[in-house]
């Protein structure tokens, strides 16, 4: 894999976003501006899909791409490290954003200016966060994706959005401060922020420094927990996702995964098993809070009186499932987590787009779970709902079933009673509630309610949601490939020594051809900005 490839995944959306801001400001009227911005944004997203797939193929063959920005030797350079997990997450991000952009065409993007540039900035932050090999750089990309998400959340405004955004922004700013404090503690004790170097040095930390380092590590766990919405710091999620515009909440399906990804990156290689004084710092926490998150999420699903609100709790429950899988701190557990992350990102996003379509058509009843009008294209919507609900609950043959089965199979004997009971009981509760909600939405018809008449392009506007939900079927068809891939991913993450060796040594020779020099220049600029 050429070093240009990971850099392009960050620089391309940044460049396109900047250009489309400029184009938007120069256009004669808002509609023209939006058309041009959409064309630019779509170009960038479509161009990134083959790039992401190239990364996926290269990493699947076992390659770990290390890009040292400015070509300084490790650990001084800020590195981008692309392994299987990074490539998978970047691919998910790009594909998801493409569908979200498609889904936004029928209304959401027209609620205000600059939807498309914001989407590009969001992709830039996400891609960067998924590829960086440096803890402080991770902070910087977190901030980029957060500020884009603030603006996207506020997109279209409205009182509810404003209030939710205010809470979300303040919470995340406090989270950023905690992140910096943790970075300060860790740097002060280990003298490095390169993640591979940290993994090498954390194992050798003297016993006297260990308690402070553990405190720093657990502070990081709290920060990532806030991003991932793990109980007890999940309270921001339901109101935020509920308030956001439909396509925006669909895009936010990947935001909780950023937190989970960071937990995987930090608490397995750096503070994971076999790291001397700081071994397995997170182990007593992640699994129990994962179980609590799953229970709280399911209770929320049960209590919700609004379709979209219910979905936000489905997200919380899915975060709980991922945390359980990661929290087992075994290779099998991590493999199940990777599979589940891939499945639930696409599924949740599709479910949100579907919910948006249903709520729009129900007129003034909206998402409330009470008797509503007979909605247009009810049959297509109901079929999609059935697929989404089945996969969420984990009924065979859809990908949700495969994900949960892999998780249950990965649980070691000691944890089997707790994890199996919680997972199976919550799945059953969700099955009951989703069946109830489905029957309210599609069968509980009250003739004195007016449906919103179908607007063009009618039933075809369901295509983005349908495609995302079809992914659930496709994933279960190619379940074995994805399972093999996630097992290899987990093995790679647990193979700490190999990653350290790959990142810390084997510096590339100085560039000769001008093409590469240009990349270096760009890279240096990137590094300087960070």
């Amino acid at each position: 894999m050429s070093g240009m490839l990971p850099i392009a995944m960050v620089v391309l959306p940044m460049f396109i976003a900047a250009v489309s801001l400029w184009v938007g400001a120069r256009a004669e009227n808002p509609d023209v501006a939006r058309d041009r911005q959409r064309a630019l944004g779509r170009f960038s997203l479509v161009a990134m899909v083959p790039l992401a797939i190239m990364m996926l193929q290269a990493t699947d063959a076992g390659e770990v791409a290390v890009v040292r920005l400015g070509n300084w030797p490790s650990p001084f350079a800020i590195t981008l490290v692309v392994d299987r997990l990074s490539a998978l997450m970047v691919t998910l991000t790009v594909v998801l954003t493409l569908f979200v952009e498609w889904g936004a065409r029928d209304g959401a993007e027209a609620e205000g200016p600059y939807f498309h540039p914001l989407l590009q900035f969001q992709v830039m932050g996400l891609n960067g966060a998924f590829m960086t090999g440096d803890l402080f750089n991770l902070f910087v990309f977190f901030e980029i994706l957060l500020i884009a998400s603030y603006a996207l959340l506020l997109f279209g405004q409205g009182k509810q959005r404003l209030r939710a955004a205010l809470h979300y922004i303040v919470l995340n700013l406090v989270g950023s401060c905690l992140f910096l404090i943790a970075v300060g503690v860790i740097y002060g004790l280990l003298g490095t922020l390169n993640m591979a170097d940290l993994a090498a040095k954390a194992a050798l930390v003297p016993a006297a420094d260990a308690p402070l380092l553990k405190a720093g590590a657990l502070l990081l766990l709290l920060v990532f927990g806030i991003k991932a919405a793990i109980v007890p710091v999940h309270l921001w999620l339901p109101s935020t996702y509920h308030a956001a515009a439909g396509p925006v909440s669909a895009l936010f399906a990947i935001m909780t995964k950023v937190g989970m990804y960071a937990i995987i990156r930090v608490f397995i290689p750096i503070f994971g098993p076999g790291q001397g004084e700081v071994a397995s710092v997170a182990e007593p926490w992640v699994l129990p809070v994962g179980l609590a998150t799953l229970v709280v999420g399911t209770l929320g699903v049960l209590a919700a009186n609004d379709f979209k609100k219910m979905l936000t709790y489905v997200v919380v429950a899915s975060v709980g499932t991922q945390a359980i899988a990661v929290g087992l701190f075994t290779q099998q557990g991590l493999a199940a987590a990777v599979f589940y992350i891939a499945h639930s990102t696409l599924l949740t996003a599709g479910f949100f787009l579907l919910a948006d379509a249903v709520i729009l058509r129900r007129g003034e009843v909206g998402g409330r779970l009470s008797a509503g009008p007979l909605i247009p294209s009810a049959r297509a919507l109901a079929v999609l709902y059935l697929v989404a609900a089945m996969s969420t609950v984990g009924l065979p043959p859809l990908s949700g079933f495969v994900g949960k089965a892999l998780l249950l199979a990965a649980v070691p004997t000691a944890w089997q009673p707790a994890v199996w009971t919680v997972t199976i009981v919550t799945s059953f509760v969700m099955l009951v509630q989703l069946a109830r909600i489905g029957s309210v939405l599609f069968w509980n018809i009250s003739s004195d309610r007016e449906a919103t008449p179908e607007v063009p392009p009618g039933v075809r506007s369901l295509a983005p949601a349908a495609s995302l939900l079809t992914a659930s079927v496709v994933i279960s068809l190619f379940g074995q490939q994805l399972d093999t891939f996630s097992r290899a991913t987990a093995a790679q993450i647990y193979d700490r020594a190999r990653t350290i060796e790959r990142v810390m040594t084997d510096a590339e020779p100085p560039p000769k051809d001008p093409q590469k020099k240009k990349a270096q220049k760009k890279a240096k600029k990137e590094g300087g900005d960070a």
């Binding site: 009182k159 509810q160 404003l162 209030r163 922004i169 300060g184």
Partner: protein
């Protein structure tokens, strides 16, 4: 002595910041965020160890340098903090206008 004074200062600023953060008005929350981020920046700065009379990055005739990385980190953190504070102020002002109050839960009943 210097370490004690410095850490006490960071602690007091952070405590004031947290107190203000827990208020229910956006204005005090913004002030609290500012104080907390100042305390964080100072803390981050100190993670390279406090020292006096050392070369900031490099000097030819000395062997003791101050650690430049925390300085770079702080600089980045300040820039990001500034942008984020500006953003939160704008959002708070719009919220104050649209919701008719600077209470953080303003207008909750409207759209329940």
């Amino acid at each position: 002595m210097m370490n004690l004074a410095f850490s006490a200062g960071v602690g007091i600023v952070a405590a004031c910041g947290v107190y203000l953060l827990l208020r229910a008005r956006t204005y005090t929350i913004v002030l609290g965020l500012l104080l907390v981020s100042y305390a964080t920046n100072l803390f981050l700065f100190a993670s390279g160890r406090l020292s006096i009379d050392k070369a900031p990055i490099y000097a030819e005739d000395t062997t003791s340098y101050a650690d430049p990385i925390p300085q770079a980190l702080v600089l980045t953190a300040i820039v990001i903090g500034l942008a984020m504070t500006a953003f939160v102020i704008v959002v708070a002002m719009i919220a104050n206008q649209k919701l008719g109050s600077d209470h953080v839960d303003a207008g909750r009943e409207d759209d329940a």
